[in-house]
Amino acid sequence: MGQHPFHDVAIVGIHNTEQARVLEGHDDRSISLQAALGAIADAGLEPRDVDGVIGPFGNDFLYQARIGPAWRSLSALGIPALLDGVTAIASGMATTVLFATGGAGTYTQRASTAPWTRPTNEFVAAYGMYTAGEFALMARRHMHLHGTTAEQMAHAAAVVRNNGHAHPDAVYSGRGPFTAEDVLASRMVADPFHLLECSMTSEGGAAVVLTRADRVADLRQRPVYVLGGGTDYYGPAYQHPPLWDLGGHRRPDLVAGYVGRRAAEEAFACAGLGPNDVDVCEFYDPFSFEILRQFEAFGFCGPGEGGAYVTSGAIEPGGATPVTTDGGTMSFSHGGAAVQLLQRVIRGVEQLRGTCASMQVEGAEVAMCTGGGSGALFTDVVLLGRERP
């Protein structure tokens, strides 16, 4: 076997700005740039070391720091953006890549759901659809097919929220602990999802810095490596019926309900690993059901077994596959339209450094980080590791 495709790439800097329900005085640009500086400092680098940028405000950063001409990607969504940076370095297009993202000041009309949850598409908007409803239509189908229960989904939400309860920097730090009964007693948002099964809305920034693996000896942090990754998409989110059985002619065995399975297969194949090798599951958690669904989609359990899996003790701290150890979008932060899609990567890096402020998994060697979800018809996967591949 030849050299691993990401042998020469290392994640060396990460940063979360303050995360809060509202960050007065900030907008998307200012909080993204603050996150950028934090990640560069975390790595022990200077702005002038960056020769590649990703994200909507990467171009602002390279102008302000006068580091052009530089490589640039417009990618914005967490893991795909990270993988753009990984491939840019692996292919020699860039040496040190910054991906910064953030959200602030865009959710002002609070009588409505957040603007990024409400598509203007002609086939959904007039029916009052927003993200919770899209994901609820997927969850309801799974309940119909497999008998998945509200209690099972509520349990998954309680586990994730209790991790955030214990994280000092979570927006909802100290807001718990919760039982499944507490979750089911919260008001209904989009049946079957109660309030405490839904992501929050908040503001904040996040950033990551990648560089060549042969440079890590000079840097501040223990490097973390990319063992494999993949992205699965079925079409534009929130424009078409979120059909569990939506299929594709190239892989008729896969349906949109299990979006992410192909991405996970590819990531595991690249890493030479399988689900049993994963020490910590930093799964994206827009709604409780997505936790169950991902354990099925990625092969940790069989179809329809997600409910039993998440109530088996496996996903709690100390279990075989602890999940979303900072509280995720339900409790840590959902900083805007896209920033939260990078949070799982940041937490995976912290878990492998051994520095996660809540629910650190002792000796974690491999982290599986994800983004997206069935209701949005996409799921992205990346496997991170302590050892250079």
Binding site: A111, A126, A132, G133, R140, R141, A190, P241
Partner: protein, 139 residues
Amino acid sequence: MTLLTPQAGDIPLPVPGALSVPYWEGCAAGELRFQRCSDCGGATHTPAVLCAHCTSTDLVWEVSSGRGEVYSWTTIWRPATPAFEVPYVPLIVEMEEGWHMLADLVGCEHDAVHVGLAVEVEFFAHPGGITLPYFHPRR
């Protein structure tokens, strides 16, 4: 218990695109239209340039029976905007011709919905100037 009715308030209304004009013209005429492939016979929705079954570009508009069954549903209690009366019940309907669409349920109590419920289209001329399809239980 809440009798579900069409949303008559200041809700976001569809802006037809180049591909979907025949669909919305059909609604205004009391017809639920979808695209039928002249090559393979398959049905396609939402409006497209490619057949979902064989990628043929030879699609022709056809009028649906308007009948189908609930494939999935949700009851929304936190509205997308204050213009929506709650609760409302978005459905995915599996139409008799084998295609799926999203619309809200009307004409029954909100808790009458279940997967497999037989439904039929009805049309509501919104005061904003566009006619929207909804579904009610088949009687």
